[in-house]
């Protein structure tokens, strides 16, 4: 899809959520999809660092974030946000994905799950990059009371900060991306912070480690 034909905001639906998919900048060619970190929202204008990208630039607000639906009663998982990102991908057709923190993890899941249509993912530092570790800790039950009925949803802040991320699980998605991605080196780690899941991803043969701008340039056709 060309950004020149797009409305500024495309509303896409996933489950019971209406998701704001914002066109940040028009362009010709493949879309760049930005996925924000935990508690953040998509930028309202294209960041300076995307300037070299020739195609349209889009930003998605995950469920419970930004202008997207604020659900009742929590129930967040990274896999549910993967469904959000997939709804955006369905709208765009194909994309290169850049994710911050939680968005980097979800971007990796999308790159593995829809490998044929994701032309590379760049995993960057940002809120929620660690998740809840590699296995569950002692259980506790939280009823978040903060927030004022607005996004970001406090349930998202609590639940997605505890989302368990075993390294072997993350590596499955890396391998799926390698099997079917339309680009030769589809997974790039640009983050400095390396929780265990990301350390495992970064040392997987074929995964590239470099700065975001260099990675972005490598995905330009």
């Amino acid at each position: 899809m060309s950004g020149t034909d797009s409305e500024p905001t495309a509303w896409v639906r996933h489950g019971r959520s209406d998701l704001a998919l914002q066109c940040l900048r028009e362009g010709e060619g493949r879309a760049l999809l930005l996925l924000h970190g935990l508690g953040e929202r998509a930028p309202t204008v294209a960041p300076d660092w995307v300037a070299p990208w020739p195609g349209p630039v889009w930003g998605l607000d995950f469920t419970g974030h930004g202008r997207s639906t604020l659900p009742r009663g929590g129930g967040y998982t990274a896999e549910m946000l993967l469904g959000d990102a997939d709804a955006a991908l369905e709208h765009l057709g194909e994309a290169t994905v850049v994710g911050r923190g939680l968005g980097g993890y979800v971007g990796l899941l999308l790159a593995g799950a829809r490998a044929a249509r994701v032309h590379g993912v760049i995993i960057c530092d940002g809120p929620g990059i660690a998740g809840g570790g590699i296995q569950p800790g002692s259980p506790f039950v939280v009823f978040p009371r903060f927030g004022h009925g607005e996004t970001p949803d406090p349930f998202a802040m609590v639940e997605l900060a505890r989302d368990v991320r075993p390294p072997d699980y993350a590596l499955n998605y890396v391998r799926f991306a390698f099997e079917s991605a339309p680009v030769p080196d589809p997974v790039v780690v640009a983050a400095v912070v390396r929780p265990e899941w990301l350390s495992a991803v970064a040392v997987e043969p074929g995964v590239i480690e470099c700065e975001r701008s260099e990675a972005l340039a490598s995905f330009i056709d």
Binding site: G73, G75, L82, G83, E159, R165, Y169
Partner: protein
Amino acid sequence: MTDDIEVVHYPGAKRPDRRETLDAAGVAISKVEWGDPSAPPLLFAHGGFDFAETLNVFAPLLVAQGWRVVSWDHRGHGHSAWADLYSWEADLRDAATVLESIGPAPLPMLGHSKGGALTLQLAEAFPHRFTHLVNLDGLPSRRSMPDIAEHERTRMLAQELGAWLDHRRRVSDKQRRPGTIDELATRRGRMNTRLDHDWLRYLVTVGGRHDGDGWRWRIDPTLRMGGFGPWRPEWSMLRLPGLSMPFLAVLGLELEVMGWGTRPNDVLPYLPPGAHFEQLEGIGHFMHIEQPQLIADMVIDFVGAPE
């Protein structure tokens, strides 16, 4: 559909004496009770794709021994609201809401299947709230697939992923397929293979909703069996050794499509000291429905009569 709204009876079945709605952080959770409201409570968590009224035969047997049986419909199930999102954490929070509504006194808790796994986590989070824990075929273990190579497993996961995302793309306006009482009973029978058709017909009338075009199960159509994620079944097993309250685990040895395929040797290494463990030959996953009196007697022997 020409099915009239009919009442189907089943021997020994009794609908709950009371039903109330709890606010679980914005999601309406339907709580039910059988028995004298002043009798000591015993809490029961149902399994996935079930609902509290699947206890309509089993619960009265415990009531007959002096207990008040409390249960609830999980979010998206039975009379509870369809939620925007579903997760294990959310189910746990809903369960804690029900627990809190009963009062501060410790009580016995039972759980079947998914409900059994929920009780393990609740018991670890709130050990002071439970006098006894009973797990009915709710102990997951790593599925054994010795004839499938790892590469093929990876491929299976990839296929599961794609299928799940395709489901999510279609799910926004999805509705359950309507049918007659017999049709819904037959559909459920494919997953409840050991339960008799008359029971399943009865379940339609207490767990279904009659619309103009027929009956539909009161289960959120966005929910889907199976799936994928980072969860490891052995993580539930690791909650067993540290349990501090008396613990009874019951396994049905007849393998069923809805069962978790756990075998005694999967469980034995993790049982806490003094645990009771029963393995039932010739009985399947829905043991409390298939053999309600046997399981009720087992539970009463374990938890005793209420004080």
